[in-house]
Symmetry: C2
Subunit: 657 residues, 2 copies
């Protein structure tokens, strides 16, 4: 991209490209989620908001949304991709988004993934109709991220053919459980499964069971203690609570027994022998929630950018003096470079992540339909989901914050929606996996193709592994690999001689950075191990390097997805505009990380300065297209619900004339 | 700092150093702001919160706090520094902090600064007692940042010796005005002053008048329309509103006439001839609000860091395997490098900004007491206030966000205070001057020692000026200049040969960066002007460079203040600890900006990598002192009001054993 001739992007084409494979699901959501019942509101009390959210959830049961993710055998449409896309469309109130995710995705999803036909038949229809509102009771107070060490117990009693579910101490109370404080009637409870053996209890690790928690009237059942988590920064339409179990008995058949079962006499059996592998297989079936959160973060980001960019395109501040025959006029704030720099690189990254999300959802969807299990594909999907969830939610937090500031005092008023988007999405960086933990998990996945060999993801295991094996970098390939390789092959090689806008150079540079960071990390871990250093310390001291590797990987993944997305675009002018936007994504990533590129002599100092100049140039060139580009997201005006995004500022200025 | 031997910092010494010159004011606040009446609360409705905040403000009138900033002639103690410090101590509820700032700082402060003895006598006692709750009605919907162009008019009518205050259009309505929606009885209204002349009205620019807005019963007075801004992201204890004036008449004597007066016959007079200079002089008297916000942002940051670091010091997650005879144990999250990197560089910067704030308050205080006016000192103070407000509030927003994430789900619960700190302080980056505008203002101040020559701060004027004059860099000097120069003189010179921990090298590097960025900017502006480029475009295209210059300046200012602060420390071990913290501040700034340092060949690539390693090393070395360092801030436990910061996690873990 060197010239900046005006373009006429095609709106329909752009919308179609962004809507992607599940365009029909998006269109359906645009059709269904409207009117007073779904409109964004603010200023509700916690109880009012909870009641409204439940009412909205009930309204969704009149649509086909609840069935997307469930088997046809129980009345669903068995379209996992659709279930994730539907989740992200509920941006009009993110409490509804999350409440829906808890009911159908986490609670229903766990029954589907960890249960067997009997559970599906008995429970899923009531899950879909919300006749059985339920909880996903995994997280404990003492162990948020470290699921493997949770402490709730489920002990089998052969005498009555029941499991006894119990909370042994405060660390083991279930915490932050959605649907628990008000609406949930049952919970999928994760607990350490124990069966009687000749020498006492035998531990089988974490398993999940269906446990009723409230009666028809909403009262806690005997042995169940429920506490409200109380008000939160956001998402107050979701009733998070705490659960304690005091020797609560459930029938043997309510163990979700796909990956581990107990016979009437107490004999444990599992299709997966290694307890460690079993644990990670079970967790792996639950990644839909994580992928959904990445998508929801994307929607919140898009909504905030739509509001901020529409406002910046109309809001005027300070006067540009008359010059060159042009009269003095108040300047639209989006005409300021500083304002462009706040919002446009964020918009470019939002596009990149959108395409990466589409690829991820497709991957999940395909894997869910494949008959035979593919361990490597599953593992790659898990790594990708971990990484994308982390970068997409951090991007949401940073971008929505920037949008708040870009809208000044207007962005602080509840009526303009941004405060709610900020507060609601804020938890995304730490729920469904803490981002820092997830990014490490991604890097560990990248470090080796033989994850099973060290399996338990702990720091010691990894360092040991690194010491013993020849390292092999695994650059996972995105969908558009042949295209990517063609572009790289056409690049004029390293160094300063290629154009700053050469896509092949971009791709090669990002790939090179990822490879170098990962190889450097592997070498560092191996070296320290040889020194005989303490494995925990070795890994801990490299933690910044570990996180850097994850970020470098995700930058490459996002770029490749962006390139592949543009390749699918049928309209030339639209593709050209998207290529400019992709240039901005790439060059702003290089600018942000130019310390690294300079340190490692990947770019010269003059090239680094040229990158900054090019980012400025691209911002200026893209400024006229900022609003059309956010319109491409197709968020309904009523979902935005912000006067400053809906013509209030323009009308006010009109009044003045 | 190369060795990392254990230190025993002295708590009393540290507290005394941080409490600084107004230690007695801080102690008094610790004494007064306690108990149920001042305790942090959450979950209140907007109206409940407003009532509580007013009640707290009334409680403060029983102390000497309201009088700090007012003349002795009206019962105050004429201690401006104390008034700023008292403001920042009200962190138990930032709504109270801001409400107090509106009443005593903005409303009362404007009467004091812009009014004369008669106004002081008539109004200030009632301001201090809150018998007259008032508003500072400057901001208009159409012109938030561009105060000079506000549109409310105050037209003199000699027939009745009154001013007619009027809102000509929607752009001119007063917006976001604190105290307006519920409690205010009067407002200091900023308006374009006009007097009748032989050929129609003569414009005199922006002036301020006292305008009553509500009667004794709280009803809006005739001609006054008041609207509630409604719920906001935070600060809901402050009743922000909108004001319209329909030909409202006020007596001639209610013009705050220190800088411009109108005689009974309508003749305008002013001690300052240039309207432009008059405008900026009037605005300049109001910088106390901006300085207070910088301090308040500091307090919010300290509170969030105190909560997050105390929690991180007790919270455990994931297990460190047994090694070297040490048993396996769950790791405290502050022992992870990634967690240290989230919080400790932010803590170091918080210290640096604390000392910079103390210097700024001292500067304001001294200037307020000096008999003769010192234009240069005043201008430097304004630049410094603009810059510190910008960097301190951005730092608050970023750090409190990080603290939220560092506390995981606990950080999202309202009971743990961080959500409120985040939401309340969020507006700080854009009120009392939008940060981006302020940082530009700072740079413009730095660009020349002759601000009056281009005066009006617009972009054209500046570019014109740059083209015509020889550029002279003005590195403003901080308090400890002789010390700084001694340290720089002792530095072994540029390049890699000096220790990474050599303070002289740090100081020189920061100064060199600032100088280079500013000189480069000046050259760029001058060059473009010679080309005959459009002045607005020239400046706009350099806007990222302009902001970079402001940031570079403030990094140097913060470092010098930190160095000067340590120099005042009487205890050797405490000073040593603070020197380590200062190293972390410096090296994390270098790391963050290493792109620039490398691009401009200020450091080598190997030195850049060594800086990253040193930041890691410093984090590890400072980890044991993190909690003592936040205790130094002296925030009362009851102000934090967060169970996770008050032993809940520790007790829970104890229960388990």
């Amino acid at each position: 991209m060197s010239e900046q001739a005006p373009l006429t992007p095609n709106e329909t084409e752009l919308r179609g490209l962004l809507d992607g494979r599940w365009a029909h699901v998006r269109e359906r959501a645009r059709d269904v989620v409207r009117g007073e019942r779904f409109a964004p509101v603010y200023g509700l009390s916690v109880e009012e908001h909870r009641a409204r959210t439940l009412d909205q959830l009930m309204a969704l049961t009149e649509t086909d949304m609840p069935g997307y993710g469930f088997p046809e055998s129980v009345g669903g449409s068995d379209d996992v991709g659709a279930s994730v896309v539907a989740f992200e469309m509920l941006v009009a109130d993110m409490s509804l988004m999350v409440k829906m995710g808890v009911q159908f995705g986490l609670f229903g999803g766990a029954i589907k993934a960890l249960g067997t036909d009997d559970h599906h038949r008995r429970y899923l229809p009531d899950v879909m109709s919300v006749a059985l509102p339920g909880c996903f009771a995994m997280t404990e107070t003492g162990h948020g991220s470290d699921v493997q060490r949770l402490r709730t117990t489920a002990t089998y009693d052969p005498a009555t053919e029941e499991f006894v579910v119990h909370t042994p101490d405060e660390a083991a109370r279930k915490d932050y459980i959605g649907n628990a404080a008000r609406d949930g009637r049952a919970a999928v409870v994760f607990a350490q499964l124990r069966t009687p053996g000749p020498d006492g209890l035998i531990e089988h690790g974490v398993h999940a069971l269906m446990v009723p928690i409230r009666d028809e009237d909403g009262a806690a059942l005997p042995g169940i203690t429920i506490e409200d988590c109380g008000p939160k920064a956001g998402l107050n339409g979701v009733d998070n609570g705490r659960l304690w179990f005091d020797q609560v008995r459930v029938p043997r058949t309510d163990l979700l027994n796909r990956y581990g079962d107990v016979s009437p006499d107490g004999t444990y059996s599992s299709p997966i022998e290694s307890p460690n592998r079993r644990f990670f297989t079970m967790l792996g079936t639950l990644i839909r929630g994580r992928i959904s959160v990445a998508g929801g973060a994307g929607s919140a980001t898009k909504a905030a950018l739509t509001i901020a960019l529409r406002y910046a395109d109309t809001r005027r501040q300070f006067t540009r003096p008359a010059a060159d025959g042009r009269p003095a006029e108040e300047v639209r704030i989006l005409d300021y470079l500083a304002h462009q720099r706040k919002l446009l690189p964020a918009l470019a990254r939002t596009y990149a992540l959108h395409f990466a999300q589409e690829e991820l959802v497709t991957g999940l969807h395909e894997l869910s339909r494949s008959e035979e299990s593919d361990d490597r594909a599953q593992r790659e999907l898990e790594s990708r989901a971990a990484g994308l969830k982390a970068v997409a939610t951090w991007h949401a937090t940073a971008t929505i914050q920037t949008c708040r500031e870009a809208c000044g005092g207007s962005g602080y008023l509840s009526e303009n929606r941004i405060p709610q988007l900020k507060a609601d999405s804020d938890i995304f960086t730490t729920f469904e996996g803490d981002n820092t933990v997830l990014l490490q998990q991604l890097t560990k996945g990248l470090l080796t193709d033989f994850k099973d060999s060290f399996g338990d993801l702990d720091q010691l295991g990894l360092a040991k592994f690194m010491a013993g094996k020849v390292f092999e970098t695994v650059i996972e390939r995105t969908a558009a690999r042949p295209l990517i390789e063609r572009l790289i092959a056409a690049a004029p090689g390293r160094g300063d001689e290629s154009s700053l806008y050469n896509r092949g150079w971009h791709l090669e540079l990002f790939e090179d950075r990822e490879k170098h960071v990962i190889e450097g990390l592997a070498a560092r871990l191996r070296r320290s191990k040889k020194d005989g250093s303490d494995a925990f310390e070795v890994f801990n001291q490299a933690q910044d390097h570990v996180l850097e590797a994850g970020r470098a990987h995700m930058d490459r993944v996002a770029l490749e997805a962006f390139v592949a997305g543009i390749d699918r675009c049928g309209d030339k002018a639209t593709a050209k505009l998207l290529n400019r936007l992709c240039d901005l994504f790439v060059l702003s990533v290089i600018e942000e990380n130019r310390g690294w590129f300079l340190e490692h002599e990947r770019i010269s100092t003059s090239r680094a300065k040229a990158v900054t100049a090019a980012v400025n140039e691209l911002c200026r060139g893209l400024r006229p297209y900022a609003v059309p580009l956010v319109e491409g997201f197709g968020l309904r005006d009523e979902w935005l619900g912000a006067p400053i995004a809906l013509g209030a500022e323009h009308r006010r200025q009109g009044d003045r004339d």
